[in-house]
């Protein structure tokens, strides 16, 4: 109790500080309300969230378009597309993408989508938007650091974008950038200047993630409004919290791996290089280990997939509850399973390395720990399904994408049980089975989570709705298309068809899938067009969408809907509301919903409250 009192008094101080901040603004008259400080170098978490979202959308278009380009090669290896030469020049002579260009496209597709879209675009957007709004804070713990976080991401984006236009092309050794391939310009044209730009960009990106992550953690821990104990936080906030912790602990390891790689590239060190004979001569490097890089990379790389999926899980939990008009089932189990996932995320990285010559005894532990993750994941899935059981479901676009998320998370998660078992992984490693698995479970699912979040919180962001009909078309094409694209790939993988191949027509073992590849590529183009339709809907609705008439369009219990339709900097015009109950009182005691700001009734008090 005394703790809460202290917290409250701290917040009072903070309010004072915020007020002071405004006073301070008045000193700089030329900035006050100016376009630059309002929309560009803004310290308002809501504007920063929109900046992350729009940058993420732009990157998503680029990344997805790259996949369309390389799917053209896979689906139509014998067809010439003269327009490709118009846009790619000598990278697509005669209308055929060259192998070098193909590998560059594949690499950039992975990098862009994993890091720039599903990390920055997803948790950057929603952590920024929702943490202060849902815990009841005026802004982030450090709005300035928060602004820097976006601008570091922006710089990373600029450097990465630049790398697309250098003469030797961007990085092309896969998004994992394994050395020695990524270390030696002689081994691959993409490992020349393109790789340096890639590493620079990623280093800036890591800085952005750390600035953002530290802010998210400190805001959640220190700036909750009165009454908002940790167990009264919406699951979204819990998921952003675990995501930020994962990022803060694992991104520095990635950075260290990258720095060693830079040393190997330019300082003549041999961290990853040993006994190489490249371009007709033996190199002087001896004693390094190429596998060391993989350990450093996957120590981030595996938590990274949870950095991508946890925010989606949190948002989906929230949206399912709101639209089923039911409390999320097993709130504490949901928090507990996210905690378990966050811990286990650090203990499974070597399952990406079962066939690197890893000690089999060590591999056995990674099998055990990897399959252990399936338990909290299963709990979450069953809890989601129970949440919609006996609900009164409204199929808002956000709800549809949330149901889609659960479906794809099941489909992709189950194949994780295959791949996590090392003996099956021997056969399926680096085949299309892996592509199918991770695209469904962290690509499509995370996108569904993002879309659900965008559709659900768009009214909060812009005070308008997205067009419903376009949203429904978008959902159904995407769900059906995603399954049509990735489901058959499991079969290609079971035949052992390797990933990252430019052409299969010379392979007796794999060329039987030519027709299938053709089919998949056609679906890819249709699904891509549907995403462009979403982008159109998004930008059109910002300006022309149907306007909100109430502050709480979904009849939701959480705090963000207690702010005005278009909240200013500081979020609440008056006092920050106080919280009395958990965020999931839907259909309780005959009431459709009870906002968190409503005090417990005497009956509830007697029952021990929530």
């Amino acid at each position: 109790m005394s703790n809460e009192a202290t917290l409250h008094s701290q917040q009072e101080v903070m309010h004072g500080a915020a007020a002071h901040g405004h006073g301070h603004d008045d000193h700089e008259h030329h900035h006050e309300g100016g376009f630059i400080s309002k929309y560009v170098f803004s310290m308002d978490h809501k504007t920063i969230a929109k900046q992350f979202l729009i940058t993420g959308i732009l990157w998503a278009i680029v990344g997805a378009f790259f996949s369309v380009l390389f799917r053209l090669q896979l689906g139509f290896p014998d067809t010439s597309f003269p327009w490709l030469e118009s846009i790619l020049g000598h990278w697509a002579k005669g209308g055929h993408i060259s192998p070098e260009a193909y590998y560059a496209l594949v690499t950039m597709h992975g990098t862009i989508l994993v890091f720039f879209v599903l990390t920055a675009g997803l948790s950057g957007t929603f952590s920024n938007l929702l943490i202060p709004l849902q815990v009841g804070a005026r802004d982030m713990a450090s709005p300035f650091m928060n602004m820097l976080s976006y601008w570091f991401f922006f710089m990373a984006s600029c450097v990465m974008m630049t790398s697309l236009f250098v003469q030797t092309g961007p990085a092309s050794g896969g998004w994992t950038a394994y050395p020695p391939l990524s270390a030696l310009g002689d081994a691959s044209i993409g490992s020349k200047i393109g790789m340096d730009l890639w590493l620079t960009s990623m280093a800036l990106f890591v800085v952005s993630q750390l600035l953002g992550g530290l802010n998210y953690i400190s805001t959640i821990l220190n700036m909750r409004t009165k009454g908002m104990s940790m167990t009264k936080m919406p699951l979204t906030i819990w998921s952003f919290f675990f995501t930020a912790v994962l990022g803060v602990l694992s991104f520095p390891v990635l950075l260290s791996g990258f720095i060693l790689l830079l040393f190997d590239r330019h300082a003549g060190t041999s961290f990853y290089l040993s006994e190489l004979f490249v371009a007709g001569k033996a190199l002087s490097n001896e004693g390094g280990s190429a596998i060391l890089y993989q350990h450093l990379f996957w120590f981030l790389g595996h938590p990274e997939v949870y950095i991508i999926i946890l925010p989606a899980m949190g948002m989906v939990s929230e949206i399912l509850a709101v639209n089923a008009r039911k409390p999320i089932f097993g709130y504490l189990a949901m928090v507990g399973s996210m905690f378990a996932i966050a811990i286990l995320a650090f203990l499974v990285w070597a399952h990406h390395m079962f066939v690197t010559g890893l000690n089999p005894f060590l591999g056995a532990f990674f099998v055990l720990l990897t399959l252990l993750i399936a338990v909290p994941s299963a709990i979450k899935v069953f809890n989601w399904i129970t949440t919609i059981w006996k609900g009164n479901i409204r199929f808002t676009p956000g709800m549809l994408f949330s149901i889609g998320f659960v479906s794809t998370f099941i489909s992709g998660g189950l194949t994780g049980i295959w791949l996590g078992n090392s003996s099956i992984d021997i056969h399926l490693h680096d085949t299309y089975f892996v592509i199918a698995h991770f695209h469904i479970v962290m690509g499509v699912s995370a996108f569904f989570g993002t879309f659900a979040g965008v559709y659900h919180w768009f009214p909060k962001m812009f005070g308008r709705f997205l067009n419903n009909t376009l949203s429904y078309i978008h959902f159904w094409i995407t769900l059906i298309g995603a399954y049509l694209i990735f489901w058959p790939m499991h079969y290609e993988g079971m035949a052992g068809m390797p990933r990252r191949y430019y052409d299969y027509s010379n392979w007796e073992s794999f060329k039987q899938f030519g027709d299938l590849n053709h089919f998949i590529s056609i679906v890819v183009i249709i699904v891509f067009a549907a995403q462009l339709m979403f982008v159109f809907n998004f930008f059109y609705s910002i300006f022309k969408g149907r306007k909100l008439t109430t502050t709480n369009p979904w009849n939701s219990t959480t705090l963000e809907w207690t702010t005005p339709i278009n909240p200013g900097h500081g979020n609440w015009p008056g006092e920050i509301p106080e919280v009395y109950r958990w965020p999931y009182d839907y259909s309780k005691d005959g009431k459709d919903f009870i906002p968190q700001t409503v005090p417990l009734s005497p009956d509830e008090e007697a029952a021990g409250g929530h």
């Binding site: 590998y103 092309s172 050794g173 394994y178 020695p180 030696l184 044209i189 040993s274 190429a290 008009r325 089932f329 097993g330 066939v355 690197t356 056995a364 252990l372 399936a374 338990v375 299963a378 709990i379 899935v381 069953f382 989601w384 399904i385 919609i388 609900g391 009164n392 479901i393 199929f395 549809l400 149901i403 659960v406 479906s407 099941i410 049980i417 295959w418 078992n421 099956i424 021997i426 056969h427 490693h429 680096d430 085949t431 429904y472 078309i473 159904w476 399954y483 489901w487 035949a495 052992g496 390797p498 990252r500 010379n506 392979w507 007796e508 299938l516 159109f536 809907n537 839907y586 259909s587």
Partner: protein
């Protein structure tokens, strides 16, 4: 021209969809928010259950269509173990998949918003949660146990009588070395590498190297275990043996191994697969540069007699290297250049 036409058609479709979407928004405003929501709810609820039914039919249809393209099953003893594991994992995950997807979409359909329907306040239930913690835990324990049994068997030491073959990856082909009559591979060092005469860098002072020979096509004996000594000269490659269900990275500076026992000769496989062109292929399964997709070598599995006859015909690399020392290149080019030529066809 047709390109512009296609773009035009797509844009037109976009515009039509957009106009419909805008019109339906106006209609829904006229009808009132509640009524519009009920209507779209019914449509989406129906689509949910249709997606479930058509999806499950689709899964079945996809299986019928593609099952035959996965080949005739594992061609090695170890691979059969892996296939067996895949089957058990498929059964367990398949059951879970069908049940959970049915529940998800069926609930979505069944509990769609209806006039007068009240959602059931059901925040938690310890017994249920315990059940679905314990059951997956047990199922996974079983899978881990079976999996590790296979894993330790597959990664165990190769039998003493196993045949030894060395395979070294380079951009973009495989260098295959046999130990010759003495059954032992000679020493090698990367600074000895000479593209023309000594592709893996054999140390000619080592007597064991005198009878080692290099080939473009790996020959193995049916039902005889083979241990591959795997290495790389430049970047990381991966020896992918899809028919044998085997795979191991080729890492520069760190030798790796794998062993397996082929069960069918190449001739038998042609019959099993019903494909006269069937050939065991070694694919590179780790991204290794622009020629990654073309990094191929073939394996011939044959009887001991056939193998012995073939082995007897092979010339030692030592011989080739020293023979060509006077007139450089010609025969030594045999082992490397030909392989390069085969693999660089597409370039």
């Amino acid at each position: 021209m047709s390109g512009y036409l296609a773009v035009l058609v797509v844009v037109l479709i976009f515009i039509v969809i957009f106009q419909i979407a805008k019109a339906s928004e106006y209609v829904s405003i006229l009808k009132g928010e509640k009524k519009a929501r009920q209507q779209s709810n019914r449509v989406n609820g129906f689509l949910m259950i249709s997606f479930l039914v058509l999806g499950l039919i689709g899964v079945y249809y996809c299986n019928e269509l593609l099952r035959g393209k996965m080949g005739s099953g594992a061609a090695s003893e170890q691979g059969e173990g892996i296939d067996n594991m895949i089957m058990w994992t498929l059964i367990i995950t398949g059951i879970v998949f069908v049940i959970t997807q049915i529940l998800l979409f069926w609930f979505a359909f069944k509990y769609q918003e209806k006039e007068g329907q009240k959602a059931f306040y059901f925040p938690h239930n310890n017994k249920l949660e315990l059940i679905w913690t314990v059951i997956p835990a047990i199922a996974l324990t079983i899978l881990v146990a079976i999996g590790l049994r296979h894993w330790f068997r597959i990664t165990s030491e190769a039998p003493k009588d196993a045949m030894i073959v060395e395979i070294t990856g380079k951009q973009f082909n495989w260098l295959i070395r046999y130990p010759g009559k003495d059954g032992q591979l000679g020493r090698k060092f990367f600074k000895n590498i000479n593209e023309a005469t000594n592709p893996v860098g054999q140390d000619w002072d080592d007597q064991l190297n005198k009878d080692d020979y290099m080939v473009n096509e790996m020959h193995l004996v049916v039902n005889k275990p083979v241990k591959l000594i795997i290495g790389s000269r430049d970047v990381i490659h991966d020896v992918g043996l899809s028919h044998f269900r085997m795979k191991m990275d080729a890492v520069p500076g760190i030798p790796t191994t794998l062993w397996f026992t082929p069960k069918y000769t190449s001739a038998e496989m042609k019959k099993r697969e019903d494909n006269p062109d069937f050939v065991y292929e070694i694919s590179c399964d780790q991204m290794c540069g622009s020629g990654h997709y073309s990094m191929k070598a073939n394996i011939i599995v044959e009887t001991q007699a056939e193998f012995d006859a073939w082995a007897a015909k092979q010339k030692t690399q030592f011989g080739l290297a020293h023979e060509s020392a006077t007139p450089p290149a010609a025969p030594a080019a045999d082992s490397t250049q030909k392989a390069v030529a085969v693999n660089v066809v597409k370039h």
